[in-house]
Symmetry: C2
Subunit: 128 residues, 2 copies
């Protein structure tokens, strides 16, 4: 399925896109920046920096590592972190619905090149 | 102004996003891959590869360099090239309109951190 992803530029405060949002979601799901980084195939240091950059964009923490306790771990999303993820995913869904017609036309143009379609529909010689 | 940009993934045929589309637009406007590359601060070789990759996605040329003649230059967009650019820009406009509410809420969250807004609206002590 063709799909769209959004990058949202926030007036000089930075931007959010699919990578940062997926990372935040994974932190929420797995309770750990380390595990989220691993799931995305990135280093902990890179993931940590992305989380810090995104928190800086919104001027407040998007994750809370204070739940660690003596066993460590236990990073959760803050209310702001959950809000940012939810708004982004809603924006993405609405955008995909609104742009569906054009995306399908572009996909069909890209499909048109396929060898499968060409072998199914060989050029006909003009009659007569 | 907060703004969104789209990346459209075309089912294994590749993807198109703001960079490739802007490059195609500039080729159309300036009549030259060399000039379009310069306007985007990229090398001719990189621009040429992006154009080739995008043509491969759609299985047909998006630019036509055959208009060069003895003076050289004179690269234009093909009908397919103009169609791809137009569909992408329409998709982008529709997506921006559909996601406007969420983008504004995200922008306001990002703005909320600003020192200007804080200095204009200091916290009030609760009365009584």
């Amino acid at each position: 399925m063709a799909r769209i992803t959004l990058r949202i530029d926030l007036e000089g405060h930075g931007s959010i896109g699919p990578g940062k949002i997926r990372l935040l979601e994974l932190v929420g799901e797995r309770g750990s920046i380390q595990k989220a980084a691993g799931a995305m195939g990135m280093s902990y240091a890179h993931a940590w920096k992305l989380v810090q950059d995104t928190s800086a964009t919104f001027g407040a923490p998007l994750v809370d590592a204070s739940a660690g306790g003596i066993r460590g771990g236990g990073t959760t999303l803050t209310a702001l972190g959950r809000k940012v993820v939810a708004l982004y995913r809603t924006a993405e869904k609405r955008a995909a619905t609104a742009a569906e017609k054009e995306v399908n036309l572009l996909r069909n143009s890209a499909r048109g090149r396929g060898s499968v379609q060409r072998s199914i529909k060989p050029k006909q010689k003009a009659r007569g």
